[in-house]
Amino acid sequence: MTEYLAPSPEGTEFVQLLTPEGDRVEHPDYTFDGGADEGETIRGFYRDMVLTRRIDTESTALQRHGELGIWAQLLGQEAAQIGSGRALRPQDYVFPTYREHGVAYCRGLDPLRLLGLFRGVDQGSWDPHETNFGNYTIVIGAQTLHATGYAMGVQRDGLVGTGDAERDTAVVAYFGDGASSQGDVNESFIFAASYNAPVVFFCQNNQWAISEPFERQSRIPLYQRARGFGFPGVRVDGNDVLAVHAVTQAALQSARDGNGPTMIEAYTYRMGAHTTTDDPTRYRMSEELEYWKLKDPIARVKVYLTRHGLADTEFFDAVERDADELGARLRDGVRALPDPDPLSIFDQVYAEQTEELAAQRDGFAAYLASFEGAH
């Protein structure tokens, strides 16, 4: 019978290029491509991660102050999101879950657009075509099929394997460890493999699906799931921004070149609660959190930059200031987000409005008007 690998904490194949202690290490298959000025690139990653974390902590605070209805925290997943987000080319397209705040940031989406959804003034209604960053998807797994279909469209547009770096296009589907159990996610593997679609399945295994540990979903490392569908899977240290960047870059290029799908399992940890309404103390040990704090994705980069004299306190202070500014902008911005006009919802259901709904709108408008006098 076919052999399979027994479950193991971090898997037998685990791509890491920067250790938690801040040391660069080699990997046979992957090397970090830092471009012309590697130091500059890594400083950029550091800045990205700090700002992303600030978006997260600031939003958590805003929820506590009642400015947001809820917030999905990414604390601890900064490297997975910045490392992958920075590997994207402008023409690539992203299909996120509801937690990809760092990827959204990389795509240039104003964080306030994210807050609109969590404040409840809209449902995350940004135009995805402006940034090639799709709309947040809350139904677990649904977006992986959208990504696969979009990639099938890219194939039909002849934008795979042309060799033109400006045109060849890849698509990324983000999803979680829990999502890997959904039929839709597995069907997306089927379709992607069947059509050899240019899509990268990027799974952030943050060890938890709300209160359920990863082991409930799979008894073997998740990246091995891809084997069962006939395409490669790889597990990367999700808290190592350099390794995530290298692995994602390779997978994206493979997709753009016409070699089809790849699954990436970014092995990371949800350091915060599932959302601001969740209470992790009900289901997990604080020891676990302590263990993962030692693997913090930002700390290791700071150590590395400092030790190699690639950044000085001036730089770190500047980043802090940028973060403070961003935080202030979010605080002011979120309060300024206008509530929608109740009547507007009737106009957003269809591209071609129906008489029926227009009439319902008018009826409601008249009803609302009937109170004008009253109050």
């Binding site: 209604s125 799709g134 649904a142 099929l145 990504a147 039929g183 069907e187 997306s188 259901v349 071609e352």
Partner: protein, 325 residues
């Protein structure tokens, strides 16, 4: 063009739509070489290629979910669900994604998609092959739902549905696919898609139907005429939105309305239509709106499906009951 069946008319309509717009794609199980189990896509893969007529893996959620992605990329997917009873694995993608994408994005993302569903019974099939799921889709804001009842409408409505920038659930009465032929004039100008139509004028009572029941109601009207009763028959054609104007106008004249469909009576289209007519034509009604529908049981074994399906006699029985008030 000669007289054609509904199947041939739909095939011609799909071909025309694909010629007119290179972004139109057909997807589904067995739609390629086989041309679909009902042959509606017969010959289209041969002529338009595998990139535009796509045989999908056996997964309905996968079909609809990838269609959403294709639509986001600017394509106009036409998805074939092999049989009505097999649309449910795709229900989540249809109700939570296809129907809500335009609303979620405030129009930034459109879903110009058609979901073709051969629906209804009467073909002697096994379980899950004779369902009438229309009410569930009509209850879902964001979707539009239409049902054709004859070859000419089939030819035009499928093209209009594909041209529509909103997702359209397109119901095809499979029982009629290879039944009556009709003369098709490709140069005629069709009525707008979301309109109902008086298919037989009458004065004594209004009979409302769509899809497979239109034929039964026309025969019923014929029979009633013999007994001196003049029934006005309206083919609703569009189930969401409903085009109630002609219906109200008719009921205000006749004072009586009967709605017929194969779907379960409980919470079927007849319920909504009855409620609306009563709200709008309260003082004109001589009798309550009566419903003739499938019973509130699962679709039965085929040997007794004709007992289950509403037919001429049950429509006439309802007419009698209406006049009994």
């Amino acid at each position: 063009m000669a007289k054609v069946t509904l199947a041939k008319a739909l095939n011609a309509g799909l071909r025309k739509a694909m010629e007119d717009d290179p972004k139109v794609l057909l997807m589904g199980e067995d739609v390629g070489k086989l041309g679909g189990v009902f042959r509606i896509t017969d010959g289209l893969q041969k002529d338009f290629g595998e990139d535009r007529v796509i045989d999908s893996p056996l997964a309905e959620s996968g079909i609809l979910g990838t269609a959403v992605g294709l639509a986001i990329r600017g394509y106009r997917p036409v998805c074939e669900i092999q049989f009505d009873g097999f649309v449910y694995p795709a229900y989540d993608q249809i109700v939570s994604q296809v129907a809500k994408m335009h609303f979620r994005t405030q129009g930034a993302v459109k879903m110009p998609m058609v979901i073709r569903i051969p629906f209804g019974g009467g073909i002697g099939a096994v379980e899950h092959h004779s369902e009438s799921p229309e009410a569930q889709f009509a209850h879902t804001p964001g979707l539009k739902v239409v049902a054709c009842s004859n070859p000419v409408d089939g030819y035009w409505m499928i093209q209009q549905a594909i041209a529509c920038d909103d997702p359209v659930v397109f119901l095809e009465p499979k029982r009629q696919y290879h039944a009556d032929k009709a003369e098709l004039d490709e140069n005629a100008t069709p009525a707008p898609l979301f309109t109902s139509r008086v298919v037989r004028p009458g004065t004594d009572a209004t009979v409302l139907a769509y899809g497979p029941m239109v034929k039964a109601c026309m025969t019923a009207a014929e029979a009633a005429a013999g007994e001196g009763r003049s029934l006005e028959v309206i083919d609703l054609r569009t189930l969401s939105p409903l085009d109630m104007g002609p219906v109200y106008e008719s009921v205000r004249r006749t004072g009586r309305a009967i709605v017929a469909h194969e779907a379960h009576t409980n919470l079927g289209m007849g319920a909504e239509i009855s409620a609306r007519i009563t709200e709008e034509c309260f003082y004109s009604l001589e009798a309550p709106v009566l419903r003739v529908g499938g019973f509130d049981t699962p679709y039965p074994p085929s040997r007794i499906e004709e007992d289950y399906l509403p037919d001429l006699d049950r429509v006439l029985d309802a007419v009698d009951r209406s006049f009994g008030f």
